[in-house]
């Protein structure tokens, strides 16, 4: 049911872990729905120097987190903000329809972390003007 890339990122997730003194942290999802993603960013000169994630969730949630972190690592904030769930799905070689929400969560988690960074540093990030980290709470499960 999962592509080889999904399985690879699930089995050997990249960028797993906690980060002390992160410049931005975002967490989305909730226990009730069975998916929580937490993203930590280390940002230097508008560049995402390092990224870590922790995820509670199914295989595709872990793989989506892993892939999403890979896709933004070393990229500029502007590039990271543009990361869409579609891009994550594409990079994973596809996700089953019932798992698409995992890629959405990954996108949201990264935006959340960037938002947190913007808040902490009093910056505005282009593309996050309308983003509200509270919003996704309203999604309900899936």
């Amino acid at each position: 049911m999962y592509t080889e890339t999904v399985m690879d990122h699930f089995r050997n997730p990249r960028n797993v872990g906690h980060m002390e003194n992160a410049d931005g942290v975002g967490q989305v999802g909730n226990v009730k729905c069975g998916d929580i993603m937490k993203i930590y960013l280390k940002i230097n000169d508008e560049i995402i120097e390092d990224v870590k994630f922790e995820t509670f969730g199914c295989g595709s949630a872990i793989a989506s987190s892993s892939m999403a972190t890979e896709l933004i690592k070393g990229k500029s904030i502007d590039e990271a903000v543009e990361l869409s769930n579609k891009a994550v799905i594409e990079a994973l070689g596809g996700l089953p329809p019932v798992k698409v929400h995992c890629s959405v969560l990954a996108e949201q988690a990264i935006k959340s972390a960037l938002y947190d960074y913007a808040q902490k540093t009093n910056k505005t990030i282009k593309g996050l003007e309308n983003f509200n980290p509270e919003d996704e709470e309203e999604f309900g499960c899936h």
């Binding site: 089995r11 069975g34 937490k38 922790e54 509670f56 199914c58 295989g59 872990i62 499960c141 899936h142």
Partner: protein, 387 residues
């Protein structure tokens, strides 16, 4: 990769060698239609069916005339509930069942709402046991059916069927029990347990998929469910799946023969697996009743991790199991059974059910425990929870 370990015998079982052997000749040698009694091929098919019927009847202490073959547990459940409802509508429109029934019972009861029926869903305690007092208090003058499963498919909890049967009998209410999971693992005696209707399915006891049976106590008022030809003494139409029925009969014969030995062995394995997991993995919750459970059922919740991820990693180690996580079923909520026992959503998402078989050894259990220990600790490292 290691030896393959199939630990999902509550989902379905491998068909036993002897069963396949029994079925063989009904494909292209004795392939007659059992309704065709005027030539030999038809008579042989009929004999096969009647032999299987006797095996099933004997195993649950019923009369042969009270056994009707169906396409499986789901059809039996649908037949029992709809058949009783539609046949007894003049007496009342109220059904009592539990919150932890299989969907074949729950969705059927829900469907009947559109015909004016009402259902009371009994609560269960943390072990998945219903409360007999609550049952008694739920009975109304218009109650026509009590449907309580014999043993639960997820957590293995066995209900006090005999007492439920007594209560139903006292009130003159028809009593149905879904015994799909109980067959082979618990002693079923429809007379002693005052059961009026009982559903079973072959593929849970080493028989083929797509065949089941219903016990209908003589005299119980029930409508037909599949109308048509005169098969099954006019009560269930459709050309009989002779080969499947023959296989079902053989599977039941084997289950009856090795009943105690088989279940003692499973209980030994079960105990070892439960103790092993408790001793080696922190923050786990045993789901279901500690002792009053199916011999082959082990169900734990592992906090801070999610079930599908566990299953995927188990699959890589060659272990097949199942989970109460919503993610494994494509539904929104985790198992309604686990929630009914009071588990919170998060914990319910991290539940894994192992259901054992004769083919599993004690060494296999050690391997499962060690594999689970490694998997859980790995996934907890990835998890943001409990940090």
């Amino acid at each position: 990769m290691n030896k393959k370990l199939y630990l999902d015998n509550a989902a379905t079982t491998k068909v036993k060698k002897e069963v396949i052997e029994e079925m063989k000749e009904y494909f292209d040698v004795m392939y007659g239609n059992p309704s065709s009694q005027l030539y030999e091929l038809g008579r042989k098919s009929k004999e096969a069916i009647e032999k299987a019927r006797k095996e099933v009847a004997d195993f649950i202490n019923a009369d042969e005339k009270e056994i009707y073959f169906t396409a499986g547990g789901s059809e039996s459940d649908n037949w029992a509930i709809k058949g009783v409802a539609f046949a007894n509508k003049n007496k009342g429109n109220h059904i009592i069942t539990t919150k932890i029934e299989h969907h074949a019972v729950l969705h059927t009861c829900e469907y009947l709402e559109k015909f004016g029926f009402e259902t009371t869903y009994l609560n269960v305690d943390q072990y998945g046991m219903i409360n007999l007092e609550e049952l008694k208090q739920s009975i109304r003058p218009e109650t026509i059916l009590i449907s309580v499963m014999f043993a639960n498919n997820e957590i293995g909890t066995i209900q006090p069927i005999e007492q439920i049967g007594e209560i139903a009998k006292e009130h003159g209410i028809i009593f149905h029990t879904d015994a799909v999971q109980a067959l082979g693992g618990v002693r079923i005696d429809v007379k002693k347990q005052h059961i009026d209707l009982l559903s079973v399915s072959a593929h849970k006891v080493g028989g083929p998929k797509g065949i089941g049976a219903m016990y209908i106590k003589k005299g119980v008022k029930i409508d037909n469910f599949i109308h048509g030809g005169g098969q099954e003494r006019g009560k269930r139409a459709g050309t009989e799946g002779v080969q499947n029925i023959a296989g079902f009969g053989k599977a039941v014969e084997l289950a009856a023969k090795n009943f105690d030995e088989h279940n003692d062995y499973l209980i030994k394995l079960r105990t070892k697996l439960i103790e092993g997991i408790k001793a080696n993995i922190p923050d786990v919750v045993l789901n279901g009743h500690p002792t009053n459970r199916l011999p082959n059922n082990v169900n734990f919740s592992y906090k801070y991790v999610e079930g599908e991820a566990i299953l995927l990693l188990l699959d890589m180690e060659g272990i097949a199991a199942s989970s109460g996580s919503a993610c494994t079923s494509g539904s929104l909520d985790p198992s309604h059974v686990l929630l009914a026992t009071g588990l919170d959503h998060g914990t319910a998402h991290g539940s894994i059910r192992f259901t054992l078989s004769d083919e599993i050894t004690e060494e296999d259990i050690d391997f499962v425990v060690e594999t689970m220990r490694a998997i859980i600790s790995r996934l907890r490292e990835i998890s943001p929870l409990n940090k």
